[in-house]
Structures are given as structure tokens and as C-alpha cells.
């Protein structure tokens, strides 16, 4: 019954929201790519690169928000590489994506060693601090959970709405969705499928990098290897869980994060002494798989996902 008590503590929900934030950024990024018809498996590596780039920029003396921009630009450059290979060249999106992940991860580690050859433990930066939104943060339970977070978390939630509005309420979003459904329909209207897809992959990759930067600039205040730790792959699943819709993807991210926050706390209860802690570590993933099975039955996969488009081919 300790579990029930945990569910009603503000600190539990605050932790869930915090854990969800990087997932929200990266899931939105992946969602944009896939809506345009490109599976971006570079996500894991791009998050690593973003985590390092943002942190390194701040460590070198820039402001925090400049650091976020630096991370985004680095992400967009990897997006440019990914989309150049997958869109105009039409290469396998699986192979290119994994290649980008390996390249981004290893070149980040290399850059880290080049930049900080002498350090044994990574230096710390002054990370984003929680900002209590007046009045709203005084609401019991909800206030401390939702409205006492860092500015980057607020940005993540705002972006969900922005992405949804752009996708469903603007001609640009319509063109992106159509590119993922039937690129021939886009080309028949005289629009460039190549430009739309490359733009979507670059924008999406930028968001993934910001998701990575959240880890070094908001959740923690330092960069260390393996800190992304498979979050990118979780986001790929969250996109499916969310049926390629921003709002449902947000729900999935928070749900996964809540499982994660819960298992940490359950480990410290009496149950934690009975059951090996590895079981608790597995829990969010097992529950995610179950939720995925339930949710993705009726998911509408973009029809042209992973289908390269060549103008003039039958």
C-alpha cells in the first residue's frame, strides 16, 4: 500500500514530469520525421551529441539558452546528413539511421576527449533551475508537480501544442503529413517532396538534440558517457504508442516516466528488500511493451513511412 501512497506525493509526479521532458522533445522530433515518411534511427546518437554540445557550449562560457541553440544546430546538422542520404539518395533508412547513431555517439566521445583531455570526472555547469510559476505552483499536488519545473520542461509542453497546431492547422503541416502518406500527391501539386522531407528530418533532429541537452543542462549539470542510455529507442516506441499524434505521444512519455519514477521509489519500500532491484528496472519497459500492444492495434502508420520517393518512377 506504500505504492498507493507514492502515487499521491507531489515529488513523485514532479519526478515523472522531469523524466518525461527529454522524452517529449525527442519523441516530437521523431514524430515529425516519421510523419514526413522518414524513420530516423539516428535519434539515440543525436541525443548524445545534443547532450554534449549544449553542455560544452555552456561550459565554454555561453548562456544556457545559447547552449540549447547550439545543441539544436548540431542535431540539425546530423539531420542534414541523415536526410541527404535517405531522401535524395534513397538509401535504406535503417542502415543510415544506425550509422548516424554510431557516428554521432563516437564522434561525441572523441570530441569530449579532445576538449577535456585531462579531466577524470566531468566538470559541472550552472544548469537550468526550477522556476515556480506564480499562483499556479500553489495548487496542491498539481502545483509542485507541473509548475515548479525548469524552463526547458515548460518548453517541452509548449512544443507539443506547437507541433500539433503546425501539423494539423497549417499548409506546411498538411504538406508534411501528405509527404508521409503519398509523396506522389505532394509532387503532383508542384511541391518538392525532397525539400519537405529533408526539412522535417532536420527540424526533428534538432528537437532530438534538445532532448539530449535537457539531460546535461536541466536534469543533471554535467556530461558523462552512456547518459542517454537507450532513451532514443524508447522514443521510437513512444511515437508508435502515440499513433503518430503529438498529444498521445505526450501521454505516452509521461506514462513511461511515471513507471520509471515509481520503480525507483518502490525499490526503497519493503518490497525492494524482497525482490532484486533489476526486476524494478525492467518494470517500465515491460509495462511499456504491454501498453504498446494495447495502444498500437489501431495505430495509423504513415503509409509512405520508409518508402523513398523518386520523381518520375512508376
Amino acid at each position: 500500500m506504500e505504492i498507493i501512497e507514492i502515487l499521491f506525493t507531489a515529488s513523485f509526479w514532479a519526478a515523472a514530469i522531469r523524466i518525461a521532458s527529454p522524452l517529449i522533445f525527442a519523441t516530437l522530433g521523431e514524430l515529425i520525421c516519421e510523419r514526413a515518411g522518414v524513420l530516423n534511427l539516428g535519434i539515440e546518437g543525436i541525443m548524445v551529441a545534443g547532450a554534449f554540445a549544449g553542455w560544452m557550449a555552456v561550459y565554454s562560457g555561453t548562456g544556457l539558452w545559447t547552449g540549447v541553440c547550439v545543441a539544436m544546430i548540431v542535431g540539425m546538422l546530423f539531420g542534414l546528413l541523415h536526410s541527404t542520404l535517405t531522401v535524395p539518395f534513397g538509401l535504406s533508412q535503417h542502415v543510415v539511421g544506425l550509422g548516424v547513431t554510431l557516428l554521432a555517439t563516437s564522434s561525441t566521445y572523441y570530441a569530449y576527449r579532445l576538449a577535456l583531455p585531462e579531466v577524470t570526472s566531468p566538470p559541472k555547469i550552472d544548469a537550468f533551475q526550477p522556476f515556480e510559476i506564480p499562483i499556479l505552483s500553489d495548487i496542491p499536488l498539481l502545483g509542485p508537480a507541473l509548475f515548479s519545473q525548469t524552463p526547458l520542461t515548460y518548453l517541452a509542453f509548449v512544443l507539443v501544442a506547437v507541433v500539433a497546431v503546425v501539423l494539423y492547422r497549417t499548409p506546411l503541416g498538411l504538406a508534411v503529413r501528405a509527404a508521409g502518406e503519398n509523396p506522389a500527391a505532394v509532387a503532383a501539386q508542384g511541391l518538392s517532396v525532397t525539400a519537405i522531407r529533408m526539412g522535417a528530418v532536420m527540424a526533428g533532429s534538432g528537437l532530438m538534440a534538445v532532448g539530449g541537452a535537457f539531460l546535461t543542462m536541466s536534469a543533471f549539470d554535467s556530461f558523462f558517457f552512456e547518459m542517454v542510455n537507450g532513451r532514443g529507442w524508447i522514443c521510437i516506441a513512444l511515437v508508435v504508442f502515440g499513433s503518430w499524434r503529438p498529444g498521445k505521444a505526450l501521454l505516452g512519455a509521461v506514462l513511461f516516466a511515471a513507471f520509471d519514477a515509481l520503480q525507483i521509489r518502490v525499490q526503497q519500500t519493503s518490497l525492494g528488500t524482497l525482490i532484486p532491484y533489476q526486476i524494478f528496472l525492467m518494470m517500465p519497459y515491460i509495462l511499456s511493451i504491454l501498453a504498446l500492444i494495447l495502444m498500437s492495434r489501431r495505430a495509423e502508420v504513415p503509409a509512405a513511412l520508409m518508402v523513398p520517393f523518386n520523381k518520375g518512377e512508376r
Binding site: R169, P171, A188, Q189, R314
Partner: protein
């Protein structure tokens, strides 16, 4: 019209080469406002190339395109669209998961304008669909629409963009006769409104019905143009092919024993497509049985039952007077049933396989092509070369991927693959859909030849003319029910049309017995 005609479109000496091949050789064409010009030509005559140049998808080597006097920049679809050139492709360019309205408004506004202007767009779509009798709901998902409705969306898409010149590439190939009539009614409304149309079709009676003028392309050259009132179907066919097209002569049939029978076969409904309702049908040696009807009334179920893809819920299948127990596609092929499938791209061939692989697709296990699990490529290749030779499959060679062949040549390969096995029973499902007249006559003559050597043929077609010309016995299928068999010449098209509309079945039971 009293006013002097306004020239809407002028193609001026368009030449386009692909390597050795000259697809368009100094082709000139002019279309006036409010005029319907039909563009005729066999497969590979250069029609599609010409339209792609007009629409800015290809760049011509020389020549110019003018729309209402304004020369279009070459190779720029956007400019063509902006000048009011619209095209309805044979394969629709719609996104299934988007709504009708989303498909129509895609690209209509600048990508970076802030909103979609949804209510205004919606009002305009409703307006246009009322004005041109194109009933379709703006909120429906395109994926849930019928083929006819999707075409309405394509036309609405063009009208929404204030199209002034509309290119229709084989618009009726996928439509039922009723839908074709509706389409023509819509087009006439738009023509009266000043729209100019270029109509590409193989169906000469439709060309005669809708077009003011016909121009003919042959081997990339413009052969000439005539007003439809000064010509007839035979003359047009002759212009297209360069020779008089003679449909094969049909001699009286000499039917033998029943080779395959369906006895009171009933199948389950599949979605909105009705299943078969106690269908009995006999295929006799040396006879062509025609199955007429609007598509989606159970034709596919009959074809699948015969081909072994679908098992009857009740009733039985009788092969050579013996009821069959296990019936799979492999059993069907081994029992000498040859299948010419309805969709040659989807189920007839494997697009990226070459002609050799496609030729042995159904019979790779036969001793002629494999032994102890090893394929014999030498014999397979000889077999494919034989078909290419005998059935005049025009291709660069047997190792070409079959997707590069035109529809007619693809069908010839399927025909060869099927007929070379000397089948006893031939299931020909829409065997000439989308083919030009030369290829149609060829397929028909091959089916008649098979009949002459004693094969039983089941011909499924939506084209009533085709069924009436070839079939010795005609059944009509409507809503999963099969009419009694009518002998050649027993029924007029109008009478068969009533059966197709579902009338006559209730009193028809007595007639059948």
C-alpha cells in the same frame, strides 16, 4: 458558339528523346477553350510523355508549351499548375489517410501561410461539388472511398485550383458504366463553364461520346486529327494502329463435357462486398462462359473459389465430374486451371523479377524447370524466350525486370505463361483491362484459339461489349447472385443491363430450371 474560339493550349513542335528512343517527334497540338480533344494512341505511342512535358514533369528537348498565349517555363510543374493546367493521373495521387478536404487543399496555399482557412475551403468544396454534381463528403477519409469517389476528389482538386485545361489520363479505366456516365455529365457541366479537356482513353466509344476532336499519336508522331462527327470507331482504330483493326471472328462453339462445376456455392461477405449466394455454374470444354456485371458484385469470389484462394461456406466444386476435397491454388494449377489475374501488377507478376522468373512463377516446381530442389535456369530461360517470341512480347530481353514493360506486353507474357501449359480450364479475369485495341484483339484471338482446341474458358469482364462478343454463354452477376445462362444473342445489352442492376432475379428462378 458565335464568338471566335480562344486558343487555350498550344503545344508547338515538341520533341523529346530518351537515348535512342524518340518518344515525341515534333508533336504539335492545339486545344480551344471549351473544347474536348481526345488523344489516342497505342501503348508506348508517346501520350504519357507528351502530357508529362505539358505538365512540367519532363523537359522537352525542343518545342514550347503555351497556355492562353503565355509560354510556360520548361520542366516546372508549379508554373503549369499556376496557369491552370490540371491533371488527373491514371493512378490517383491521393493520400489515403488524409481527409477529402486535406487532399484537395494540399499545396493550394503557400506552405508558410499561417492557417489553412478551413471553413472557407470547406465552403468552396461544397459549392463546387454541388455545382458539378460531384457528391463527396469533405470530412471522409480518402481511404474509405470507392474508386469512383476518389476520382471525384481528383477532379474537385483540379477545379478547386481554378483549372482551365484538364488532362484526364484514362479516367474511365477503373469506373463502372454508371460512374462513367456520371463522370461525363460532370465534364459536360465543366465544359459549358469554359473548361478545356484533353482526354486520353483506349475506349473508342467513349471518345466518340465525349470528344469534339480526336488526335492520334503513333510511334511518337502526330498522325493527324479529325472531328468526331466526321469519323467512326473503325476509322479511329485504323488511324491508331496504321492498319484496319479487325476483331477476331467467332465461329460457333462445339461444347463438350463439363470440366469444372460450381454447385450451390455460398461464401461469406467480405466487408461491403457481398459473398456468393448459392451459385451454380458449369464450364464446358470448347466453350467460353462470360460473366458480366458491375465489379464488386461477387466476381472476385468466383475467381477466388475457382483459383483455390477462397473456400466455399457451403456447396461444392466439381472437377471432371468428381467433387474436390482439398482445393488450394497449387491444386488448381496442377489440375490444369490457368489463371489470368484481374490485377496484373499486384497478383499477376512480381515487379522487380525479370521475365524468366515471372514466366515460371506458377510452375517453378514442375520437372521442366526444377529437379531435386534446384532450378534449371537454362530451361527456364528458353521457356521465357519462347514466350517472348511466340506471343510477341516487346522487351529489351528476358532479363528485364517486368515492371519496365507496358501493360500490354506484361499481359502477353502472362498469357504465354498460361497458354503454354495447354490448360484445360482458363480463368480470364478482366484480361484486357487497360490494353490498346491491338493488344485486345490479340488476347481475344488467343482465348478463342484455346476454345477451339477444347479448353473451357471463364471470362470475367465489366465490359459488356467484350462479354457479348466472345462468350457463348453469358451469366450476369449482381449482389452475389448469378443469373441463368443466356446463349449468345439471346439477350440485348439493355436486357442484360437490367439483370446487372439486380432486376429479374426473383422471377428468374423459374427461367433457370
Amino acid at each position: 458558339m458565335n464568338t471566335a474560339p480562344v486558343e487555350a493550349l498550344a503545344l508547338d513542335a515538341i520533341t523529346k528523346r530518351f537515348g535512342e528512343l524518340t518518344a515525341n517527334d515534333a508533336v504539335s497540338l492545339s486545344v480551344n477553350q471549351g473544347e474536348v480533344v481526345a488523344l489516342l494512341g497505342e501503348n508506348g505511342a508517346g501520350k504519357t510523355t507528351l502530357m508529362n512535358i505539358l505538365f512540367g514533369q519532363y523537359t522537352a528537348d525542343s518545342g514550347a508549351v503555351r497556355v492562353f498565349g503565355k509560354t510556360l517555363p520548361p520542366g516546372n510543374s508549379r508554373a503549369a499548375l499556376d496557369e491552370g493546367v490540371g491533371m488527373v493521373h491514371q493512378h490517383f495521387t491521393l493520400a489515403d489517410n488524409l481527409t477529402v478536404q486535406e487532399n484537395i487543399t494540399l499545396g493550394a496555399r503557400s506552405l508558410f501561410s499561417p492557417g489553412l482557412g478551413r471553413s472557407a475551403a470547406r465552403a468552396r468544396i461544397v459549392d463546387l461539388s454541388r455545382k458539378f454534381h460531384l457528391s463527396v463528403s469533405p470530412d471522409a477519409r480518402v481511404g474509405s472511398l470507392s474508386v469512383g469517389e476518389r476520382q471525384r476528389v481528383e477532379i474537385l482538386k483540379a477545379l478547386y485550383r481554378d483549372v482551365r485545361i484538364l488532362i484526364l489520363d484514362e479516367p474511365t479505366a477503373v469506373l463502372t458504366p454508371q460512374e462513367t456516365d456520371d463522370l461525363f455529365a460532370t465534364l459536360r457541366l465543366a465544359i459549358a463553364d469554359g473548361l478545356s479537356i484533353i482526354f486520353i482513353s483506349h475506349k473508342l466509344h467513349e471518345v466518340m461520346a465525349i470528344a469534339d476532336r480526336v488526335v492520334v499519336l503513333r510511334h511518337g508522331k502526330m498522325i493527324g486529327g479529325v472531328d468526331t462527327q466526321d469519323t467512326d470507331k473503325n476509322a479511329l482504330a485504323a488511324m491508331m494502329m496504321g492498319t484496319e483493326a479487325t476483331p477476331p471472328k467467332v465461329s460457333p462453339a462445339t461444347p463438350g463435357a463439363a470440366l469444372l462445376e460450381l454447385r450451390s456455392v455460398t461464401t461469406a461477405d467480405v466487408g461491403s462486398v457481398p459473398g456468393l449466394k448459392s451459385v451454380s455454374l458449369a464450364l464446358q470444354a470448347g466453350q467460353i462462359v462470360g460473366l458480366a456485371g458491375v465489379s464488386g458484385n461477387g466476381q472476385a469470389a468466383i475467381a477466388d473459389v475457382v483459383g483455390g484462394l477462397l473456400h466455399p461456406a457451403s456447396g461444392e466444386l466439381v472437377l471432371n465430374q468428381e467433387a474436390v476435397r482439398r482445393w488450394t491454388p497449387r491444386n488448381a494449377v496442377q489440375s490444369g486451371i490457368a489463371r489470368i489475374p484481374e490485377d496484373r501488377h499486384k497478383t499477376g507478376t512480381i515487379a522487380d523479377f525479370d521475365l524468366v522468373e515471372n514466366a515460371i512463377l506458377e510452375r517453378y516446381k514442375a520437372p521442366a524447370f526444377s529437379k531435386a530442389g534446384w532450378l534449371n535456369w537454362r530451361k527456364s530461360r528458353a521457356f521465357a524466350d519462347g514466350i517472348i517470341d511466340k506471343y510477341d512480347v516487346r522487351c529489351p530481353g528476358a532479363d528485364t525486370p517486368i515492371r519496365l514493360l507496358s501493360g500490354g506486353n506484361m499481359q502477353k507474357l502472362i498469357l504465354g505463361r498460361v497458354l503454354e501449359a495447354d490448360p484445360q480450364i482458363i480463368l480470364a479475369n478482366q484480361p484486357v483491362r487497360g490494353l490498346d485495341i491491338g493488344a485486345v484483339n490479340y488476347v481475344h484471338s488467343q482465348l478463342l484459339a484455346a476454345r477451339a482446341r477444347g479448353a473451357a474458358v471463364l471470362l470475367i469482364s465489366e465490359d459488356l461489349d467484350e462479354v457479348m462478343a466472345l462468350a457463348d454463354i453469358i451469366h450476369v452477376i449482381a449482389d452475389g447472385r448469378l443469373s441463368p445462362g443466356f446463349a449468345r444473342g439471346e439477350m440485348t445489352p439493355a436486357q442484360l443491363g437490367l439483370w446487372m442492376a439486380g432486376q429479374g432475379f426473383d422471377k428468374g428462378v423459374a427461367h433457370a430450371s
